[in-house]
Amino acid sequence: MDFLNILNCTILTPLVFAAGLCFVPAAKTHAIRWLAILGSFVTAVLGVLAFLWFSASDTGFQFVNQVPWVAALDMSWHVGVDGISVVLVLLTGIVGFAAALVSWDIQSRQKEFYVLLLIMIAGAMGMFASLDIFFIYFFHELALIPTFLMIGIWGSGKREYAAMKMTLYLSAGAFVALIGLIALYLALPADVRTLDLVKLLDYARSHPLAANVQYFIYPLLLFGLGTLVSLVPFHTWAPVGYGCAPTATAMLHAGVLKKFGLYALIRIALPLLPVGAHDWNGLLVVLLLGNIVYAGLVAMTQKNFNYLLGYSSVAHMGFVFLGIASFTFIGLTGAVLVMFAHGILAALLFALSGYVYAQTGTREISELGGLCKPLAFVGTLLVMAGFASIGLPGFANFPGEVMVLFGAWQAPAWQAKMGAATVSWPVPLAIWGGSVIGAVYMLRALRNICFGPTPVRWQMLADANLFARVPYLLLLGVLIWVGVYPRALVETIKPATAQIITAVEKAVPAVSLKR
């Protein structure tokens, strides 16, 4: 293993720091906090460096390092990033650092908390940087265990129920996906069987899998991974899980870990099983409308701000699915961009909500009010984050969602499949659902929380100090930077998505655009 490889470093750094933390006496909480923050900061810097050093003009995987691991399965420690994963590595770095920074409100058993947090960051890094199907899955699961413990120990509200429900749902989903991945591995002829993603992609390009095999394996991946991304109707874990999770956990999970399912769909399922994906697209479209419209409607009825955020993140996932289901270059690129944007946004919203909760001790929307007065800074940021969430231009979500909608608009897949003449009907529905419903619940919640008369008991709240502002400003800055200058990411993402879409179009001519 090449220990100077930047991707290996991003994966191992948090683990090394976590191991180091184990040897610090539990009573030295300050040392523990700073060490953990340092660890996540180094990781974030490495993530940023990987992004900066990544050459957008080259196609293919970069910073590759491969070490044989299990010969019997042709499994190897194989890291490398392309345009899609480098963006997500960057996301993980930023959100991980921010999550470590906002964890000052953890008042008990800090050592265990930070160890788990660092393991989570390492797992998230690993799953985006790996190019071996086994390790992609392995790292996701590695990041999942800390979630369970963190919600259970440091969570609030119905934490036990939330932790159990979330873990069981996610494990079940991940397990179904694992069966799908195993089936995929075994669908290859015995002499070329490999868990190496690069080899698999190469092989699938010249020898596509049989259509019936694809038809059979794809739903395992779709529903398994879909559960991880809270695809309706397997989404019920998300609001309750995020509602009860400690801030840092909610940030990392909603912001980063949740993207695993989407990432694996784009990275593994779409290029390897394009025919299967096309066969099951009709069902996916129905379900993703459920995400956008139904989850949005449910979000409107929420009384608890974190539950509302949970449902809103379910709704946002619908847009990513829409991009995947469009089978278009622009749609898929937009989907990746939304993944990044939503990652930052979800982290910011959960962080701010966490700050409010730490100050007031409640997340009930009706009990809060007029917080903009005592908490001028946090309140303002909350409003801005809310604007980003409803897709106002200037924030990162806007370009992403617009691209997804453009992709969906032109998607020939549905025109062929559903017989629509010019405009595919899910698109207007999605636009309507996404913008109107999202605006209604988010603005209504913000009005109740930030504006209006300030109850007496909230008048003496302390606004975030200079140090506490760092993570919020960092996240908001990224959100605005990408919103204003999406090219920085889009140019990086494009070669990778183009490659996937070309492969898909070659395998399923029905989805290619008539030019």
Binding site: P68, W69, V70, A71, A72, L73, M75, E112, F134, Y137, F138, E141, L142, L144, I145, F148, L149, G152, I153, R159, E160, A163, M164, T167, L168, S171, A172, F175, V176, L178, I179, I182, A183, Y185, L186
Partner: protein, 477 residues
């Protein structure tokens, strides 16, 4: 007559006798020295098994004793597994020694005799030898289970194990009778040669033999003894039963299935598959309401027997390799869990889950070790148990046994629920009593070793997979 084929067994047995004799001369307070001597001896034998003179082909590998005995890569694999397992159980017993009333030396010796029996099972190539080797394991098991004569539960467990064990022996013997009757031989090779002509009596005999082995493996429907015995027996003995004894059952099963019954594979695949599915379902569903941690591990052991049988049902070299890997992963995982339990045996009133509440605050090390073990049992990465399950599922998906895949999937998800229940108690709940629990250093060392093994095997799977697959390749041609 080639005694060099028996090198390792003779050494182990001799070591046990040495400990037995020294017991008479060692003063009472130095009894723990015997345990360390035994463990060190077993590890030395393990190291010896890697010497070229043992492993290189020729005089210690091969078959002998009129075809009753076969020493191949798989036999060696299992013998090493038994040696490691017993050595660790011995260390655990030393830590447990203040619970053993007197006679700790005999206890250690019996563990080593049991280990000898297990090592014999690994090389069995004849039904008569199978019977004798299995009984060596079983009889030492009876004694060890009932060892704590002052504890009613231990004695009750002993009686249960005894009666059900003897019953399964009776079935086994009756089964072998019919096999002998219909083929006129007891050697696996002879049985395999005549299997085509022998009809119903042979099948019946094999079914009865399976019942006898099923008892050792603790699979449904021969699982009735498991919960009580796991709960009642001293913790190190439970560990011994859960790891060594179960592995002995599996090595015998593999020997019988692939030595004698290779040609009727489709028939037994069906039987094994059914047993596997039932064990996974029963073990996991019955474990859900359990509140006693040892009992819970008992039921979970039934479900793991089911997972192992899934690999056997795949019946190709990949599936068997997966089973061998699984057994090693399971060995270290269980030893880790039972080390925690035996550390707590003197401190907590009993093994109810409520007593584990807040363990993380009383002893972070014990709680962490238990969590690692339970995560591995549940099949969560990066623990060894995850990769083991991954291999098993790869094997059965490869055979397109979708029904079993679904049952296995249900089992995995259900098991997560009850394993997490224990983790939940240890980490989330407030302890009933406060006060740190101190762990003696040998136990501490054992905890670190087993934890490192569970995580190490789970991360660096390469070498272990290669050993397991190489061993499986000698069996499945």
């Amino acid at each position: 007559m080639n005694l060099s084929l028996l090198k390792l067994e003779i050494a182990t047995c001799g070591l046990a006798m040495l400990v037995l004799m020294l017991e008479a001369f060692v003063p009472r307070r130095d009894k723990r020295f015997l345990g360390y001597l035994g463990a060190a001896g077993l590890l030395a034998i393990l190291a010896w098994s890697y010497c070229p003179s043992v492993t290189a082909g020729g005089f210690t590998m091969g078959s002998g004793f009129n075809g009753m005995w076969v020493n191949d890569a798989m036999a060696l694999y299992f013998k090493r597994l038994f040696l490691v397992g017993t050595a660790l159980v011995l260390v655990m017993s030393v830590g447990f020694a203040r619970q053993l009333e007197g006679g700790a030396g005999e206890f250690f010796a019996l563990l080593m005799f049991g280990c000898t029996g297990m090592m014999l099972t690994a090389s069995v190539n004849d039904f008569l030898m199978l019977f004798v080797a299995l009984e060596t394991v079983t009889v030492s098991g009876y004694i060890l289970v009932a060892w704590l004569r002052r504890q009613q539960q231990s004695l009750e467990a002993g009686v249960k194990y005894l009666i059900l064990g003897a019953l399964s022996t009776a079935f086994l013997v009756f089964g072998i009778t019919f096999i002998y009757g219909s083929t006129g031989a007891t050697g696996f090779a002879d049985v395999a040669a005549k299997i085509g002509t022998a009809g119903a009596p042979l099948k019946l005999g094999l079914l009865l033999v399976l019942a006898g082995l099923g008892f050792k493996m603790a699979c449904v429907p021969f699982q009735a003894w498991v919960p009580d015995v796991y709960q009642g027996a001293p913790a190190p003995v439970t560990a011994f039963l859960a790891t060594g004894s179960k592995a002995a059952g599996f090595v015998l099963l593999l020997r019988v299935l692939f030595g004698a019954l290779q040609s009727v594979k489709p028939t037994w695949v069906l039987v094994i598959g059914t047993l596997a599915g039932l064990s996974v379902l029963y073990g996991n569903l019955a474990a859900m309401p359990q509140r006693n941690v040892k009992r819970l591990l008992g039921y979970s052991s039934i479900s793991h027997a089911g997972f192992l049988l899934l690999g056997v049902a795949a019946a190709d070299s990949f599936g068997i390799g997966a089973v061998l890997f699984y057994l090693v992963a399971y060995l270290f995982t269980n030893l880790c869990a039972f080390t925690v339990i035996s550390c707590l045996a003197g401190t907590l009133p009993d093994d109810e889950r409520e007593n584990y509440a807040g363990l993380a605050q009383r002893s972070p090390l014990l709680a962490a070790a238990m969590t690692v073990a339970l995560a591995s049992l549940a099949g969560v990465p990066p623990m060894a148990g995850f990769f083991a399950k991954f291999l098993i599922f790869t094997a059965i998906v490869g055979q397109k046994m979708w029904c079993l895949v679904i049952i296995g999937a249900i089992g995995v998800v259900v098991s997560l629920y009850y394993y997490l229940g224990v983790v939940k108690a240890m980490y989330w709940q407030e302890p009933r009593e406060t006060g740190a629990i101190t762990v003696a250093w040998p136990m501490k060392a054992l905890l670190w070793v087993t934890m490192a093994a569970v995580i190490g095997i789970g991360v660096c799977q390469g070498a272990f997979t290669r050993w397991a697959f190489d061993a499986a390749a000698t069996l499945v041609k």
